[in-house]
């Protein structure tokens, strides 16, 4: 600071120096603000909800009078969400992994085509989940499928497929190119190559892709709104409707009864904890590659 005041500095430069200091300050504040907002979000959710989280709540389905503040819990929503999240992630993974491998082995020499695929996936990733929901609903009517766990899983899988493929794809892209050539030289056919070597090489990326997709699937509300229905029971088959945490929060929060609202806050705490755990896990798996690109 003293340095800038020395008489060697012209007046114009001094003004510039203060201007820079001023902007550096507000830039710092901008970054700080972002970090503080995150803390504020987590803190508000926990403050509202932690008090209502109880063992009873986690282990019971809604009983009679639940929606008037009587007994019961949100086990139906927790289990429903897990079913939906796991089902959609599994479906997206088994359909997405081959695509990502395909893009980076057979298709790799055709750069323009690969880029077109990436571009399309990024576009798909930009489509709002409510549009997926509406589209899924239109499809269900056309095919005569009822609102059910299965319909929800399919729509969610569609929703997360682009990010699943792109996240794995980024990992494969970052894998050393010499590896592919070396394996070819050893005489591996392309399918052996892709499924064993590349998969093992990119395991951390694949795990991250799975976690990321699972986080998306379990947290999305707009697409399941149309497709899963809502029920107090835990579904026992794919054809039955199901509850989910996001919708449980959404519906119960619109209730005028304080006890029901409190359950919504408690469910929000549970969902937040799940998401935080996923974030931490994927941070552990992510290495220095593959960072921001996958979120485009």
């Amino acid at each position: 600071m003293r340095r800038y005041l020395s008489k060697e500095y012209t007046f114009r430069r001094k003004i510039q120096v203060y201007e820079e200091l001023f902007f550096r300050l507000i830039m710092l504040l901008a970054s700080l603000l972002i970090a503080l907002v995150l803390l504020q979000i987590v803190w508000s959710i926990f403050r509202e909800g932690v008090g209502s989280v109880s063992w009873e709540m986690l282990t019971n389905t809604p009983k009679g009078g639940f929606y008037f503040g009587k007994e019961g819990g949100i086990l139906n929503a927790i289990i429903g969400s897990l079913y939906l999240g796991l089902g959609a992630t599994l479906l997206a993974f088994v359909t997405g992994l081959p695509v990502a491998l395909f893009m980076n082995t057979w298709l790799a020499p055709r750069k323009r085509l690969v880029n077109l695929v990436r571009f399309t996936l990024d576009l798909l990733w930009g489509i709002p989940s409510i549009v997926y929901g509406a589209f899924g609903f239109a499809l269900m009517i056309a095919l005569g499928i009822k609102a059910s766990l299965l319909a929800g899983i399919i729509v969610l899988a569609l929703l997360i497929l682009p990010i699943m493929i792109r996240a794995i794809d980024e990992g494969l892209k970052a894998s050393p190119p010499g590896l592919t050539e070396a394996t070819y030289a050893l005489g591996a056919t392309t399918s052996e190559l892709s499924f064993s070597v590349l998969t093992r090489q990119c395991l951390p990326h694949i795990l991250t892709a799975i976690l990321l997709s699972f986080g998306r699937a379990i947290g999305d509300a707009a697409s399941v709104l149309f497709t899963t229905g809502f029920t107090d029971n835990i579904p026992t088959s794919l054809g039955q409707p199901t509850a989910s945490l996001p919708l449980a929060i959404f519906f119960q929060l619109s209730s005028p009864i304080p006890e029901v609202k409190e359950r919504a806050y408690a469910a929000a705490v549970i969902l937040t904890v799940i998401i935080l755990i996923i974030s931490i896990l994927s941070r552990i798996f992510t290495n220095k590659y593959s960072r921001n690109t996958i979120k485009f």
């Binding site: 340095r3 020395s6 060697e8 500095y9 012209t10 114009r12 430069r13």
Partner: protein
């Protein structure tokens, strides 16, 4: 060596994360001459040149010790405005990096910083410096086009003109021809020979023949150290160290 020394570097060392990139450098650079810094790549030539311009300031991981005297004034340990120090030197880098603006504004950029804002004066100065870099005839009809529309060779001359426009006393050029075709390279080399009447030129290169064509004075570096410095004649014909001889024969690279 009775020539005036424009730049003197004394006991300069530079560390990055505990790794010593420049080791106790002591060199003198004569005024109005072309001084060539020679050495295999990775030996620290670029870093030495950047420290003369205090561009090392923007790499927080770099720690510099020692003194660099320009006109007998230490530029490393000073309260003086770093922008004033840098204005004394024009920089030409390995590849041309035209500023993201028009050809005209690339030259006017430095002039405006120095407070010259009058339109007709700017017009005149822009023309003058473009002529000095032998670019005027090629671009006079398209001054408002983005600088990125020029060929690489033209861009490098634009960067030279841009550097000259802040009226420096020293030109620092870091392998300025390495991205250019032979004809553009030749034009730049010719320009340097013209310019040395008025400027002190420091040129980094790893092309021996280029060094031989241009140098008045040579500094030879190896692995972060200055191995030898001497007038060009002496350096090329009577190298003093074994490493220099090996390098001149082409067995180090």
């Amino acid at each position: 060596m009775e020539a005036n020394h424009k730049i003197r570097v004394e006991n300069l060392s530079l560390r990055v994360n505990g790794h010593e990139i420049l080791k106790d450098i002591n060199v003198s650079i004569p005024e109005n001459k072309i001084t060539v810094i020679l050495g295999p790549s990775g030996c620290g030539k670029t870093t030495l040149m950047k420290s003369m311009n205090r561009l090392t300031d923007i790499y927080p991981e770099m720690h510099v010790r020692g003194r660099i005297l320009i006109d007998e004034e230490d530029i490393l340990n000073t309260h003086k405005d770093v922008t004033a120090i840098r204005k004394k030197m024009g920089l030409l880098s390995q590849r041309p990096y035209p500023l993201p603006m028009s050809i005209y504004n690339n030259i006017a950029f430095g002039l405006r910083i120095s407070g010259r804002k009058k339109r007709d004066l700017l017009d005149k100065r822009v023309e003058h410096y473009l002529k000095q870099a032998s670019l005027w005839e090629e671009v006079k009809g398209r001054l408002r086009e983005p600088a990125s529309s020029l060929s690489i060779g033209q861009q490098q001359r634009l960067c030279l003109a841009r550097g000259l426009a802040v009226d420096p006393e020293i030109i620092l050029a870091d392998e300025p021809t390495s991205a250019l075709d032979p004809i553009s390279s030749q034009e730049i080399e010719k320009k340097f020979l013209d310019l040395k009447q008025d400027y002190t030129i420091v040129l980094v290169t790893h092309i021996l023949r280029q060094a031989a064509r241009l140098a008045d004075h040579v500094i030879f570096m190896y692995l972060g150290e200055v191995i030898e410095q001497a007038p060009a004649e002496e350096f090329f014909h009577h190298p003093r160290t074994e490493i220099t001889r090996a390098y001149l024969k082409g067995s180090i690279n």
